[in-house]
Symmetry: C2
Subunit: 691 residues, 2 copies
């Protein structure tokens, strides 16, 4: 939490600007209209998936053993198939709907039922099935997809190895082509190359898509995907295949994660999923993409939907956490500083507001950002806008948004749990179970820190393109202007000037800070300056020997990741601001504007030391930020329940006894008891008052 | 994470001071000696308790059902009794050892075996038993303690109610004295007054210490404790008593938490634990402490040991997390930026270091702070130093340290989990289970946010004592000097002066920052200034009507809590610094000094915006802080394994397969495979190199 020790002596509005600011001080949110907006582009599909999530059959039961939970979730997948919920992503020719975006929207909502169900569905249809769909060709679609779609063939997505997670290019499993039999021979060369953490691998998987280094004619063509049969109809591993159960995990225990290894396992040549690389009968390799590097990233890029759906599901889980904690905080009373007879509800405490409302603002930003993200995904995967640039933008977006939203989910679930005290620790109130299940979201489908580095590299590449065709003179001029900028911003000159002009005029700077252009300018400036500074430090990296270059990069790694985070925060802020522009109901828009301002100023507060050091904000203005954040929080407090109601969760979704009004009933009963006692005159006299 | 985007262009030591700083750059830690120091004042007791924790009988088994886990932990308590491990806290006259400090030291180490065991032991002997010991008198000791000590009588500590947790004074259960039968009648007036979250209540508890408002002769004398029989020998509730099982929780499922309620339950007058308040046969109330408020806090103060032991256990869990993650990070390799054939170990990545080493520094600070805390506790409870002031200091220390260390444990366990990727999510590697169990530590035995407010109130009280006897003139002078201070610090005057003198001289400021007096000065200044500022804003609070006064406090609540946190951080820093002074081995001391500096400068970095806004640090010096933190981290990296080895955990304590060297073996095997392949000339040629 940022430091918040300094702020103006009073919060009362005393200037014209502040009074203006208060005029529209009692707006009402139109919860239904806002709720519809939050559902986004695929609102109807989301609503129908939420109906599915209301069915007891698909809901999590706490306290099942691992074995029971796994069987239950497998059964739930069959339930989805039987009720026609899994075909959206697949080709119309095979009974699907060719609806990439709608498919993801529907699956994200399953987190309401049980995250194990969401993720096991994701393994079956979003990874295993999607690999066949996107990396395979017609033969594979016709041969394998029908069984995958009906769940006759549960399957594993065998990419990760014990020794290699996010660095997929370095996996060590090999698939060596044997022209004599026209087969690939799949081998696990050592223990670290065992496939690991694979859903469906421990028990249910009959087949798998196995990623391996494709070797033919003595050449390694890099990672490719192969369709491999794992088990016979009795569930026994086929010859040459072995495995282990990953056992109990921190969460998601409805999924049978496990390990696999291969010794001389032979698969027919046609089992290579050959859309991006093929081997002829004689062993000749061919690919429509010449560069091995680009080929690799293209193949991996087809699997971006996992990151998309994690971003959505994590945002939904954050919203659930806040819906539970804000409802409870609005009913539960504790301590009575302000009155002799009435305790305060938790949400009237400033600290409680500070704990929950900024996280609500971030969650809203993520809802808007996710919908834009899913639209982009749909455009690429439907072929509507599917250039190389589109794909790269999509991947960068995924690498930026997934880390922030999954970390935010853990942070929010935890804060909500603590804000509900002991009640928050009970499984019946959902928060701990959700947190346990979502824990792995921050490191699977790309470790968050690794993903942010991908974003940072993209930012550096974009930056260097500015100078791609430039001669030495241009670069030198850049370096000089960079130095001049440092002198101006870094030495405090600009800051000092601003200090003088701001002096005694907090109100004016608050008005400034409410201006979205000011917020955008400050957030953008930070990203650009961070990237410029890092690029400046790395500008000689290519000239250095490999080890020194790596060391130089490494010395900047932490800042690179922070720059990527700043970029992702800006993307979220922009999406929130665009979403706001779509809001037509004026009073709703007013409240959402406060919430967006809370998000934007919250980011400034969080990164305040950067703004101060770089002279972008004066100390006075920094104080105004915190003071205004406090005012925004107080102003939003009466709208907190409406803002979480707009998420549209029904009791069958939240299933948390503390979010059902039970606490309000208890409070009512307690109050009635004390009132009756006072009225009857039978109340014991406090010892204190006797003295 | 603080912003770290700005730092000097080079890390190479170029000035005399920097070179001096590097001279002792290759020290070696004496792990054994440091390990002994870390064990602290009760080293031998800790070691013997760690031997207990190595026994399979007392260790957690993952994946047990809740019912099985509960039975297992109950059995483990009997094991502790049978092996003579539970008597230290109890009177010698009853077979105990009267060793308050040693008792806590021993119990804290049980977290190594299973946190459920630690906490269920704590319920039985640290809460239920300790309440009888500290709130009861000779009759209770003789009558009840023997059965408690032998576990013939498992018991609940029935304080918390569904409607009242941290606000114990407001619990609603009543114990009304009936002089006709010389009994107390215990009643639960409404659902919110049910006792809740009580260990031993759902199943095993035969008796309980029940806290209730003591009412006699129509007067409520406030909260007192009563010894109550709950269940008969068949485990059936006695007449008038009912309850519920709290069911599955986010962790600690080896403990049978539950709810209790009472309807006209009669207990003999002598079952009032009457050390601090008694009722004569005729119903006359008497107490050695006249003020009901002071009496209440004295009674509660006897129960501080729960907070002490949570501070210790949380610190041990943090140390375990780091021992696992740093071991794994030293072996696991991923990506090969620096070499064509060799991947880097995770801990060589700057980000990985940034994630783990500052948390290691904090954990060390906590180890030292905890030992001092326990010495203080022992002095009070052994009667060696047991004045009112001592007790108040102890409670303030508990309220300051327990929140920081329990939050730190969750943060560190999570970061360690993520730093170990998918392996970190497997139950077999311990991190997720520990995090689940420790989650509740941040809100039980006093909610962390509530505890920090107690600290803040103490800080404000201490501050106002400066002016207790002062006339209006003195207060006015204070207000004036306060304003002058604001003008000096807050307007940037001091900052600007420093900017000028610092210009171009990062090195000198680094040397400054290494000076413990500078660190202490900066940390102390922040606490004092925050308290002063808040006190200034609250100075009229007492003159205001109750509601307005409460609103004024509430508007400062967040800052009050942050001031308390700053105070607690200073306490930890001071303890670390004192610990350092005890370190005799010079090279060990050198490394520990770097670690202490990392802790101190890490705090400055975290709160940098405050230092900048208040003109305590210039932007240049702020940059020097981050640059020096980076240098310290790089310098500490080679010592990371030694620093976690010094915690002294054996494989039977960690029981994490990734912390056994298994990963190093896998890496060795993989390397040998590739080396053999290269040597034999059979390695496939990368496609890339063919072009």
């Amino acid at each position: 939490m940022a430091d918040t020790a300094v702020r103006p002596e009073t919060d009362a509005p005393t200037t014209v600007e502040q009074r203006e600011d208060e005029t529209s001080s009692d707006p009402r949110i139109d919860v239904a209209v806002l709720g519809r907006q939050l559902l986004g582009t695929w609102a109807d599909i989301r609503l129908s998936s939420r109906e599915v999530a209301k069915q007891p059959e698909v809901q999590r039961i706490d306290g099942l053993s691992m074995a029971e939970h796994r069987e239950r979730v497998l059964g739930q997948l069959h339930y989805l198939v039987a009720n026609g919920h899994v075909n959206r992503a697949f080709p119309k020719a095979l009974g699907g709907q060719d609806d990439a975006g709608g498919n993801i929207a529907a699956f994200e909502e399953l987190v309401l039922a049980d995250p194990s169900l969401q993720i096991k569905s994701g393994v079956q249809w979003g990874l295993f099935g999607a690999a066949v769909l996107h990396l395979g060709t017609e033969y594979h679609h016709e041969t394998f997809l029908p069984g995958i779609m009906t769940l006759d063939v549960p399957g594993a997505f065998a990419m990760t190895e014990t020794g290699h997670g996010s660095d997929v290019a370095s996996i060590a499993t090999t698939a060596t082509y044997d022209p004599d039999t026209e087969e690939f021979v799949i081998d696990t060369p050592f223990r670290g190359a065992w496939k690991d953490y694979l859903g469906n691998a421990a028990l249910h998987g009959k087949d798998a898509v196995v990623f391996a280094q494709l070797i033919t004619k003595g050449v390694n063509h890099g990672v490719h995907a192969f369709y491999v049969h794992l088990r016979d109809d009795e569930g026994v591993f086929l010859d040459g295949i072995g495995g282990e159960d990953d056992g109990l995990k921190g969460g998601l225990n409805g999924i049978d994660n496990g390990r696999l290894h291969f010794s001389g396992v032979r698969v027919p040549r046609v089992n290579l999923l050959n859309r991006y690389g093929d081997v002829a009968a004689d062993g000749t390799y061919s690919s429509p993409i010449e560069s091995p590097g680009r080929r690799f990233f293209t193949m991996l890029g087809t699997l971006v939907q996992g990151r998309v759906s994690l971003d959505g599901a994590a945002t939904t889980a954050s919203a659930m956490a806040l819906a539970i904690a804000i409802r409870y905080g609005s009913e539960r009373r504790q301590f009575n500083a302000a009155s002799d007879t009435e305790e305060e509800v938790l949400l009237d405490y400033q600290r409680h507001q500070r704990r929950l409302l900024p996280r609500l603002a971030t969650t809203y930003a993520q809802v808007f950002a996710h919908d834009e993200f899913l639209v982009k995904f749909d455009a690429v995967f439907s072929g509507k806008a599917d250039t190389d640039d589109d794909r790269q933008d999509l991947e960068t977006l995924a690498a930026a948004l997934k880390p922030l939203s999954t970390w935010h989910a853990l942070d929010t679930l935890q804060e909500a749990r603590e804000a509900c005290g002991g009640a928050g620790f009970l499984a019946e109130n959902r928060l701990v179970g959700l947190r346990q299940d979502l824990d792995i979201y921050v490191t699977f489908e790309g470790d968050n820190n690794v993903l942010l580095q991908l974003v940072a590299k993209r930012l550096l590449t974009d930056f260097s393109r500015k100078f791609a065709g430039a001669d030495a003179g241009a670069l030198a001029r850049y370096v000089v202007s960079q130095a001049a900028d440092r002198a101006y911003h870094g030495s405090g000159l600009r800051r000092i000037a601003q200090t003088v002009s701001d002096f005694g005029s907090t109100a004016r700077s608050v008005k400034d800070l409410r201006d979205p252009d000011t917020q955008r300018g400050l957030l953008t400036d930070r990203v650009e300056t961070m990237v410029e500074e890092i690029a400046g430090r790395l500008r000689d990296a290519r000239k250095l020997p490999k080890a020194e270059s790596a060391a130089l990069f490494n010395a900047n790694q932490n800042e690179l990741i922070e720059a990527a985070r700043a970029h992702a925060e800006l993307l979220q802020w922009e999406a929130f601001t665009r979403g706001l522009e779509q809001t037509e109901h004026a009073e709703t828009k007013q409240v959402l504007t406060w919430l967006r301002d809370l998000f934007g100023l919250g980011l400034l507060e969080q990164h305040m030391s950067w703004y101060l050091i770089h002279g972008r904000l004066s100390p006075q203005r920094a104080q105004a930020v915190t003071a205004y954040v406090d005012r925004l929080i107080a102003r939003l407090r009466p709208h907190a329940l409406d803002l979480v109601d707009a998420f549209g969760f029904e009791p069958e979704h939240l299933r948390a006894s503390i979010a059902t009004g039970a606490e309000a009933e208890r409070q009512h009963e307690a109050r009635a008891y004390f009132e009756a006692q006072r009225a009857s005159g039978t109340a014991p006299v406090p010892e204190k008052s006797k003295k």
